[in-house]
Structure formats: C-alpha cells, structure tokens
Amino acid sequence: MANSLIELRGVYKHFGPLTAVTGVDLQVEEGELFGLIGHNGAGKTTLFKMMLGLLPVSAGEIRIGGHAVRGEAFRQVRRSIGYLPESLALYDNLTGLETLHFFARLKGTDPTACTGLLDLMGLAGAAGQRVRNYSKGMRQRLGFAQALLGSPRLLFLDEPTNGLDPHGILEFYQILRDLRRGGVTVVLTSHILAEIQQRVDRLALMRNGGIQALGTVQSLREAQDLPLTLRVSFRTGAEADLRRCLAGQGVTVIAIDGDIARLECERGRKMVLLAALTGLGAMISDIEVHEPTLEDVFLGYAEHVS
C-alpha cells in the first residue's frame, strides 16, 4: 500500500518453545488511529516491542516509513516515534522537567519544548517536583509528554489511560484528536474497549498471537452479525399490546421492567420492527436503538473461537 506507515509481513516471534506472535500481516496507514485489542497474553505488547525494534522478529519483516526496524536508518526513524509503555517506569529522583529534559536530550530534540509539554499535560505546577511525589495519573501524563517529545509522526501508546481519572482520559483523547489533525499516526492498545470504540479508525483483534479480526468497529460488528438492542418505553398498561406487536417479528424480549422493555433483534429486521412499533402510535413514548458495543464484538469473537 502506498500510504502505509507501518507494514508487517509474516511476522513471528518465538520465545523458546512458546510462539508469542504467529504470522501477523498488517498495514497501518499514515494519519490513522489504529487500535490493537486482545486478551491478556494475546501478543499485543510483543508486537508493539517488535514494531519499536525492542525485540527482534523470529521471522518476517517489519517496516516503518519504508525502513526496516533495525540498522542505522531506523535510528533516524526512532526520532520521529513516540512511545508510552504499558508499565511506565520513570526516574523517581528526577523532577518532571528534568525527566523530560533527559529524554529530550536522548532523543536529540529541543529541550525548550519540555515546559510547553508539561503545560499541555497540566503538569506545569509540578514541573519542579520529584517524580517520586507524583500520583499514578501524573506519572502517566508525564509519560505521555515524554512520548510527544520531538513532535513525533508516529505514536505507540500501550494502555495509555492507565491510572488516569475520567477527566484525564477525556483530556488525553482531546490531545490525541488534535495530534491526528496534525497528521500523527497513532497505534494504541487498551483493555477499556468502550473508551476506544468511538475513537479508532480501525482495529485489530489479537488472539493467541495472531490477528483474529481486522477492520473498522462497524465492519467487525457486521461481520459478527450481533443483534441490536432496543430500549422501548411504553405507556402504562400497554404491555399486552406491545407483546402482541412483537410476536412473530423475530424479536427476543430480554426483560420488561415497569414501562420499559429491552429487546434484541437481528440487524436485518431493524426497520421492520421499528415500523411495527411506530404502528402502536401513542402507546410507545420512546425507542432507543443500541449497536453492539466493541466489548460485545470482542466477546462474540471469543465465543466464536471456543
């Protein structure tokens, strides 16, 4: 592909008798926000580390920006990569500003940008504090600031919202949105699927070292053909009419609690069902249609395997 920033071809990783990554083929386009999800031990972090050149591949090839992930040329590529590891470990004896200065010098970027990055992360007031006094959320934000040093073209973020409070998570994704507007490509992993389902362009679902599914969240939903969930609010005393209406529509009634019914129907029957419900007129006060969540998709694939 012409615009692929990351290309993996037949990548394998063996640790002795254990195969951690099995034959992964993957392309991530420039400017894309790509999610990597999977159960613990699925191989996400190993794949991350191989893409960063921290682990050698056992077989196959990884290219970033057209360069193989090794050798002198990759040193230059690394200057344009930001990385936030899952288990972030910083130096407790350094202050926040010193930490960024250290990594900026190591990366060969302008250390004067550090103050601005601390400000962006809401850490300006703690710039002079030792990292040992930072909370987990502050450390994570400092780690994210570190990843942004040198205005990277590509970001690898492994569980980036670990330890962040809801406000911090929102701010994090706001910054990510701004970065993407600037053309930054982002590859991230997260166990909090609700968090990423609205935000990623595409994602790969990893299982046992391989890619089980790849595509947009919508395409994965459709491929799974999971039922839609409807929440129907009805007028008091209209339950019998509702049940009559639903009969023969291929609808599963999950529960009726007071004046609210929760239903499940096949995606293909959605419009027929909506028409039937609308036919009940004033007896129906509200209808909400819920697409399957990414979590449902994830569990659907897991069931498919088992």
């Binding site: 960063l52 050149g53 050798g71 040193r75 990569i81 972030l88 004896n93 010098r105 990366k107």
Partner: protein, 273 residues
C-alpha cells in the same frame, strides 16, 4: 553495524554521574578514602611502635592493603545493577525506544559510573595527597600519583566486571550475589588458592607459570604495580615477591589492567546486543 554516536553516550553518562553526585555517593566515598588515607598515613607504622608521618613507601604499602579490599567492593556495588535495575524496573524498554543503540547505552552507563568512581577516588585520595605533599615533600607526590592512577584502574576493572554481571543477571538479587562472590573470589580466595596450590604441589607447580596466574587477578596486578618498586615493602608481602622483575614493568602491568577493563565490558556489550 550501527555508527557510534557520542551524544547519547554523553547523555546517559551525564545522568549516571549526576545521580551519584546528587545522592552524595561521590562525596561519601571520597570522604571515606580521605579519612582512611590520612589515618593510615599517620598511624600506619603503629605496629612498629611509632606514629606520625613516615616515608611514602610505607604509606602507600598500607594504603594498598586498604584499597585492595575497599575499592573492588565499592566498584562492584556501584555497577552491579547498572542494567539489571533498568530491566527490572521496566525503564529499559523506554530507554531503548530512543535513538540509542544498546552498546551506546552500556558504554554511557559505564562511563558515567566510571566518572563518579574516578572523582571519588582521585578526589578522596587527592585531598590526602595534598597533605602528604605538605608533610613529605614533592618526591612523595610522584609515587602517590601513580598509586592513585593504579587505584582508579583497579576500580575500573571491577566496575567493568560489575557491569558485565548487571547484563548477565536475571534480577538484582542474583546480580548482587554474583558481585559479592566475585569480590570474595578475587580479593580473598584467589591468592589463598594460589598459595595453597603452590604449597600442596611441593614445588612441582612451576614458578614460571605462577606470575602469569597473578595477572589473572586485577587486585594482584594493582598490588604488584604499587609494591614492586619498594624493596622494604616487597618483603612484607608473600605472593608478590615471587613475581619476576621482567614482568613488573608498570606499562605492561597497566596494559594488562586495561585488558581487564575492556574484556568484561566487551563481553557485556556482546551479550547485551
């Protein structure tokens, strides 16, 4: 093969050095060296029933005994967790995701720690040296300078071993165990072992071969470097007196010491790669 860049080496070395300055490691070790050097210089001849500033030969001979025990231990403690601690803490991946090669990281770590050790050694013994210069005159300074230089080389040799341990060990606990074992072996056991073999073999063990075995221990090289020039002192020592004069060239011994610095570091770099 990656080209070596000196900037990232300098950044890592600078951080290691500053860390040791900041946590007062350098100051503490320098003070220990100064105090011990002064105490030994003043009270070193107490066994002979006299105290006070004596000649430089006796002072250096006393200091050699101190340094042989203390400096290897300090160097091993300084470097045993240089890499393994980063790996255990999880910061190694972040460091290696930067535009730095593994060799540059290792070399930066070694140079930073070596600088801290160097400042502590030269500073610590240097302060005592200034006082000795005042008491014993400028002639003493030449010998004392040689002693400091060889002490620094001894420290570097054990630091190199420590860095190798830090690369090979799976965790800090094992690394510390191996570091202590190395200290025991080279400082306490090795000479006894050689002496035991010499005695047990009742002369069958060739004396030609024996000096070469002494070169396999950096602590012995340091001892020979410092005491061979002093006839009075040589008699005090057992093992070093069997060392032939032809091998006692300071440049040759210095080169062997440099070999002792480069070899473990080279092995560590090869393994770390």
């Amino acid at each position: 093969m990656n080209r070596i860049e000196f900037r990232p080496i300098g950044v890592i070395a600078g951080k290691e050095f500053r860390d040791r300055l900041r946590n007062r490691w350098v100051l503490a070790v320098a003070c220990v060296f100064t105090v011990f050097a002064l105490v030994i210089a003043y009270f070193g001849s107490a066994q002979q029933g006299a105290v006070g500033w004596r000649n430089i030969d006796v002072t250096i001979a006393s200091l050699v005994s101190l340094v042989i025990y203390l400096l290897p231990l300090i160097a091993l403690i300084l470097g045993y967790d240089a890499i393994v601690a980063e790996r255990e803490r999880g910061s190694l991946d972040l460091l290696l995701s930067m535009p730095i090669t593994r060799f540059e990281l290792l070399l930066g770590k070694f140079l930073g720690l070596a600088s801290a050790l160097g400042v502590a050694t030269v500073g610590g013994f240097g302060v005592a040296g200034a006082l000795l210069f005042y008491q014993l005159g400028s002639a003493a300074l030449y010998h004392y300078g040689g002693f400091i230089a060889s002490a620094f080389l001894l420290g570097l040799a054990f630091l190199s071993l420590a860095v190798m341990v830090s690369v090979l060990a799976q965790d800090r606990v094992r690394a510390s165990g191996v570091a202590i074992a190395l200290w025991f072996f080279y400082v306490l056991v090795y000479d006894l072992l050689l002496l035991g073999v010499l005695v047990a073999s009742a002369g069958r063990f060739s004396l030609d071969f024996f000096p070469v075995l002494l070169l396999l221990n950096p602590a012995d090289i340091f001892r020979i470097l410092n005491i061979f020039g002093y006839e009075d002192v040589r008699r005090l020592y057992g093992l070093a007196t069997v060392f032939p004069e032809t091998l006692a060239n300071p440049w040759l011994l210095g080169s062997v010491m440099v070999f002792w610095i480069i070899t473990p570091l080279g092995m560590a770099a090869r393994r770390f790669k």
